[in-house]
């Protein structure tokens, strides 16, 4: 606990001389700022290695107690190296390569990293038991919101700016024969072997170079690294992806791979359908839990070897090394080689151990079992490994704890046929043994990939393939040599204290307290203490937590088990997951004209349509008094061909279709099997076996699939072909008293007189020089109108000719808003607005359209019972008694006792009548014409309205029949 400011410790570390395997370019330097101070590093340095070379030991503060923290794993997972870089939060400083001018800052340290006020939490450490916030701030209740505000200031993270970034993300699909997740020796060997067997391979490696632990090895490892790197480079069939991660394994080997730091693309999501997956993720070194284990200067052996051998950085002056495996021994040797004073090597294999690390702001001495204290500024631990089996777990494996090797071991037998595991994750071995295991696994992966390809090709389909796949026999399975793992001491904690989860600041004593409180299963313990829920996703913490839980409950580690490994293997940006913004959008052929004439766009599903051109009321008057034209292209249109169309229409619509003469049009309503209104529209018969059926624009796709369902599953014997032609035609509705005059000026070969072409009729003709147009006499607006369906490529041409030819007639474009007012004046209901998800046929104002004497149609039984039952809501016309008040749509209608009796579904000021008019759903006992009801306005006022005939204008419908 250090509340006093930490003076910058003397420059105990610094740059070493050239190392055989170093990845830095010592001849160039890069300037960057650290909390505002200018420092230097080399290309190839990570932010963390550059900082350590510059003598920085304290790199961050911990979550709850704000204890000073330094490097530990010096890898992507390092919990002590999370920085804000410019406006990007939570950057993995021990992985992110240094760039010129990087503005690197510690996160959530105020006023500064050296002197952090919130370190005062450390004082109250003993009072901040796990889940302390559940046990306090309960009373008085009214103070909880202010307590919460204080809690939120303790959020330990970087910041997101409200200004969107300019970085680019995109995606691509891939169909490799083999994905190899992990580019260490086994992964490289597997990739080479698979490629040599003819497979296409994606080799995915999280680090910036291939090689895994070989990179910080000795001369033998570096030689093997060169050899394997050359072998990979020699195989054109291998695509290498470094600084990339195979994020998950979803069903049927659907594998998202995130590529980072590509030229011009911040992150790219590669979506691979792999025939086989080889998981070669190697092993992650596990921290040791002991008092003082979170002090800056406590490093894992891999952390030390990375700093020394990869980045030529001296991690300390005087070191104590606790080792239980050859990697610990190698770390001690590397330190000695570069002149660090290795004061003591503690060999756990011979029962030796450490008690604690002591120091303020960093390690100053190490207390050994037996009491001896050794002065040191660096404590290195090598106590064992965790197998990162996330992708294997997602494939169905359930790794079991093996006391002999002190880790949870995957069980390849539980894996599906298309997933294999290679190298360190399966078992330890020499470089040659790992390469041999990888090689054999790679060949087996290629063999299985070929079998999967054959199986996919052999799936019976109707596709006529030029050369049907010759069924080759499967090659014999490849024998994969055994990877024998040497024993390893079980070293999780020495019980003296320390932190089990350094990201979330959860200590050993805190875990034990929580276990005694009853949170004694691995999932409950995780959720109560938040251990393993931090940025490292539990990779460094889970096994130690399980060990502490097992010890405390007297159960074995195998019985205790682990928490579920949850996708993704490494955190992925929302940008990479979203990719290019790509929500499909649909336009009508007249869109350029609309935009040139100031149409206000309305989002209607995937369509963008003109809402109005400036003055919807004037547009309504133009249609009522002169002539208007509207672009109704989005109206759904289905071309029906075949002799059995009447049977289909009888089955789907509530009304009758047997006797519809050629050239005639009929309105119809469709209900679902529960009697709820599904869609409506007009259908015209263009020829003996040729009908054109229109649907609502929002229902176009659903109705087509609904029709196909009946045809394909219920009546395959009916001869009907259905083809969507919604946008094969540009649809222009010409409406108004002068519409016949206007259309007459452009049409050829069609007598427009009412006797020849009456209401609810359809004809084909040439319009403005365009042949094969279809003209309908239908009346959604209630005026004399002709809906002209023009072959779409000529839509703009005909629209422009209509505007030109009708200038003297006062032709006016009108949009969806005016159309809504016109149809409301005529009392035409809109499915989905005047009806909802529960409105059955008789509640949609259909009156006698529903023919219950028909033998069968979709939804008939439910409609018959609705009719029998009665008492269902009615669709009625309504007029506020005060004509100037337009009740907002969805205002509720109240009964005398104040309960809800219905609602306003449509409501507008009618320019034609100069008053407000509405449609509404209403309980039957209030639905008689003339009844007065109370409408509750959103602002709380009550308004009186009178139930009327739904048709407010020209109830006899004379105007549209003229």
């Amino acid at each position: 606990m250090t509340i006093l400011p930490i003076t910058r410790s003397t420059a105990t570390s610094g740059r070493l001389g050239p190392q055989p395997g170093e990845v830095i370019d010592r001849h160039r330097t890069l300037d960057f700022t650290w909390n505002g101070r200018v420092l230097q590093g080399h290309p190839g340095d990570t932010l963390a290695s550059a900082l350590t070379a510059a003598g920085e030991r304290v790199l961050s503060r911990s979550y709850k107690y704000h204890r000073p923290r330094g490097l530990s794993t010096a890898s992507y997972l390092d919990p002590g190296a999370l920085f804000q870089v410019g406006d990007e939060p939570n950057v993995r400083g021990a992985h992110r390569l240094l760039r010129e001018g990087d503005d690197v800052r510690s996160q959530n340290t105020w006023p500064s990293l050296a002197f952090d006020l919130k370190a005062v939490n450390g004082l109250a450490g003993r009072f901040l038991a796990p889940g302390f916030y559940y046990k306090t701030f309960i009373k008085p209740e009214r103070l909880w919101p202010s307590y919460e505000k204080v809690l939120r200031t303790f959020v330990h993270a970087g910041e997101i700016s409200p200004v969107p970034g300019t970085e680019v993300y995109d995606k691509r699909y891939a169909h490799p024969d083999v994905v190899v997740a992990g580019g260490g020796p086994a992964g490289m060997a597997a990739a080479v072997a698979a490629a040599r067997a003819g497979a296409s391979v994606l080799l995915v490696e999280e680090e910036h170079q291939l090689g895994g632990h070989l990179r910080w090895g000795g001369s033998a490892e570096l030689a093997a690294l060169r050899e394997l790197t050359a072998a990979v480079a020699a195989e054109p069939g291998i695509e290498v992806m470094t600084d990339s991660v195979a994020g998950a394994r979803f069903d049927d080997n659907w594998i998202p791979i995130v590529q980072r730091s590509l030229p011009g693309v911040a992150e790219r999501l590669v979506k691979a359908r792999a025939k086989t997956l080889v998981v070669a993720a190697g092993l992650i070194e596990r921290p040791y839990v002991f008092a003082g284990n979170d002090l800056p200067g406590v490093l894992l052996s891999t952390g030390v070897r990375r700093l020394v051998n990869l980045h030529a950085v001296r991690p300390g002056q005087r070191a104590v090394v606790l080792t239980a495996n050859p990697d610990g021994d190698a770390a001690a040797a590397d330190l000695a080689r570069v002149g660090v004073d290795v004061a003591a090597v503690i060999d756990a294999r011979r029962g030796e151990g450490i008690v604690a690390a002591h120091g303020r702001g960093g390690v100053q001495s190490v207390e050994l079992t037996g009491g001896r204290r050794v002065e040191a500024d660096l404590l290195v631990t090598a106590v064992g490994w965790t197998a990162p089996t996330s992708l294997l777990n997602q494939s169905g494996d359930d790794p079991v704890y093996d006391p002999r090797t002190a880790r949870f071991r995957p069980d390849p037998a539980r894996l599906p046929d298309n997933v294999l595991a290679a190298g360190g994750i399966v078992g330890e071995g020499s470089t040659d043994e790992l390469v041999a295991h990888g090689d054999a696994t790679g060949r087996e992966a290629a063999r299985r990939a070929a079998r999967v390809a054959r199986r996919l090709a052999a799936v019976p389909t109707a596709v006529t393939t030029p050369r049907p796949p010759v069924p080759q026999p499967d090659a014999a399975p490849v024998v994969v040599p055994e990877l024998v793992t040497p024993d390893h001491p079980e070293l999780f904690t020495n019980g003296t204290g320390g932190f089990v989860d350094q990201c979330e600041d959860v200590g050993l004593k805190e875990l034990r307290t929580a276990i005694r409180e009853g949170y004694d299963s691995v999932e409950l313990l995780k959720r109560y203490t938040t251990a393993t829920m931090g940025p490292t996703q539990g990779k460094l913490e889970t096994v130690n937590m399980v060990a502490v839980l097992a010890q405390a409950t007297g159960r074995t580690m195998a019985e205790t088990g682990t928490t579920t490994w949850r996708p993704m293997y490494a955190p992925v940006t929302l940008g990479a997951l979203a990719g290019r913004p790509s929500e499909p959008v649909r336009y009508s052929p007249m869109q350029p004209w609309h935009e040139r004439h100031g149409a206000v766009p309305l989002v209607a599903g995937q369509w963008i349509r003109p809402e109005h051109y400036g003055d919807p009321a004037a547009e309504v008057t133009a249609v009522r008094t002169r002539v208007g034209i509207i672009d109704v292209t989005p109206i759904g249109k289905l071309d029906l061909r075949g002799p059995d169309i009447p049977k289909l229409l009888e089955l789907l619509y509530v009304n009758k279709w047997q006797r519809l003469a050629v050239g005639r049009v009929r309105y119809g309503v469709m209900c679902a099997e529960d009697g709820v209104v599904l869609d409506d529209g007009v259908t015209g018969r263009l020829g003996e076996d040729h009908y054109l059926c229109s649907t609502t624009s929002s229902g176009a796709a659903t109705v087509w699939e609904w029709v196909e369902n009946w045809l394909q599953t219920a009546h395959p014997e009916w001869q009907v072909h259905v083809t969507p032609v919604t946008t094969a035609y540009a649809s222009i509705n010409v409406a108004g008293p002068h519409s016949r005059e206007l259309v007459g000026r452009l049409v050829e070969g069609l007598d427009l007189a009412s006797e020849a072409f009456g209401y609810m009729n359809v004809r084909s003709a040439t319009v403005a020089g365009v042949a094969d147009c279809v003209l309908w006499r239908i009346g959604f607006t209630g005026e004399l109108s002709y809906e002209i369906h023009v072959p779409a490529a000529y839509g703009l041409h005909v629209w422009e000719r209509l505007m030109a030819a009708g200038e003297d007639l006062g032709v006016t474009p009108f949009g969806v808003e005016a159309q809504r007012i016109l149809r409301l004046e005529k009392g035409h209901a809109i499915v989905g607005q005047d009806t909802d998800g529960l409105t059955q046929g008789f509640s949609a104002g259909l009156g006698d359209l529903i023919k219950l004497d028909k033998p069968d149609f979709a939804g008939k039984p439910e409609l018959a019972w609705q009719h029998e039952r009665g008492g269902h809501p009615r669709l009625v016309g309504l007029r506020p008694v005060d004509p100037t008040i337009v009740p907002p749509e969805a205002s509720q209608i109240l009964d005398r006792d104040g309960s809800i009796a219905g609602r306003i579904t449509s409501s507008r000021m009618s320019p034609t009548l100069g008053r407000a008019i509405c449609l509404g759903q209403l309980e039957p006992d209030l639905a008689e014409i003339g009844t007065r009801v109370t409408v509750r306005h959103p602002d709380g006022r009550d308004v009186v309205a009178e139930v009327t005939d739904p048709v407010h204008v020209d109830p006899e419908g004379a105007r549209q029949r003229v």
Binding site: F250, D251, D252, W254, R273, L456, V459, P460, T461, A462, V463, E673, D674, E705, E708, N709, Q712, T713, A714, P716, P855, D856, K860, P861, E862, W865
Partner: protein, 89 residues
Amino acid sequence: MMLLPCPWCGPRSATEFRFCGEAGEAGARPDPATATPEQWRRYLYLHANPRGWSTESWYHGSGCRRYFTAERHTLTNEVRSTTAAGGAP
């Protein structure tokens, strides 16, 4: 998502298909002339909802635009058979 072997087009990602609910005898439409309300509403609302092999109707909306029946295991999402509606390919 998993692969679904369309009887017409062959294996495709399940994102190309629309799930249309349980098919087979559970989904069969009772005779509207004789069905009682209870029988009709069992057809509308009740599901077997097995945690295992299920016989279902699917629609290949982004492909051949045909309906087909599939036997799928609702836990592993393995599909062991698909048959085209109204007539084999």
